[in-house]
Symmetry: C2
Subunit: 152 residues, 2 copies
DNA sequence: TTTGGTGCAAAATTTTTGCAGGCTA
DNA sequence: TAGCCTGCAAAAATTTTGCACCAAA
């Protein structure tokens, strides 16, 4: 389902920012491609289908905005691109329920993996250090099932 | 304590690679700066103190080598630099016991945090998906104790 | 009308690569 | 001596920025 455009518009207005086609389209493309880990270039190509005159710089400015508004997650798979994806939004408004990323070192595939047990780690960290955890990113590197079966 | 140079030399020779001053110095600098998250540029500056003619390209080539040999960890704090740090090496030879990174969104400070409970997650992932986990990187974003006390 | 947003191109920045010369084995 | 390694500079590649114009409020 497409993301709640109306909420996004409201959030923009509350911040004194303007609602533009470019912003709506970037949000829409991310909403239509959950679990896809899009680079700025990817988003650029996708938005261009509907809005050919958009510039790459606008994509960069918009994903930064969406990230600051905590509407998208940012991940870095260390391949030279920063990637963006829509948060799951299955819980309350602002608490995006995180999944982790299994990254295959053979084929480069990225597999999302959902697990909640980091929540308890976050609580423990806060108790032990006073550090307030707001977000996290967990990447697990290894060999995926298919690559293991091929080789071993 | 400085890292085991002899082991490093042996590992290089086993791979048919050459032992050079540059490689030894990069390893040494990383060993002398555990928990410091050095960028290539940082390492470059530090090695230059002992070996002014070294080139930045050699640093990049060497950290890549050390990373491939699993002698250093690589982390990306999303500030435009890739950083390197010496693994803890407190367990057996190859199993570097990972610590995580608490990243303060206010002051940018990076606090290492040691915890083992991801081991069980790794086992669970392997059982559930067939993905063999070899390594992981966990970053926790939030507000550090000092910044919280200042503001709240 | 005012102010923020966009597109384009140039700039900035980190990292990689080609090549000639040098050093390890 | 043979071949890997290094240093330098240029290239590559992603992301940021300046600026004139445009569009939303």
């Amino acid at each position: 389902m497409p993301v709640d455009q109306e909420l996004f518009k409201k959030m923009l207005k509350e911040k004194g920012l303007k609602v533009t086609n470019q912003r709506l389209l970037v949000l829409q493309v991310l909403g239509e491609n959950k679990d896809k880990h899009l680079t700025a270039e990817d988003i650029y190509e996708l938005v261009k289908e509907d809005y050919p005159e958009i510039g790459l710089a606008t994509i960069y400015r918009t994903v930064q905005l969406l990230y600051d508004m905590r509407l998208v997650d940012r991940i870095n798979l260390d391949d030279g691109y920063v990637r963006y994806e829509m948060g799951d939004m299955d819980g309350e408004n602002d608490k995006t329920h995180h999944h982790h990323h299994l990254i295959c070192e053979k084929c480069g595939k990225v597999i999302p993996f959902k697990d909640d047990r980091l929540d308890s780690l976050e609580v423990y960290i806060e108790e032990a250090t006073g550090f307030l955890v707001l977000d996290h990113e967990l990447k697990l590197y290894g060999i995926c099932k298919e690559c293991r079966e091929k080789k071993e």
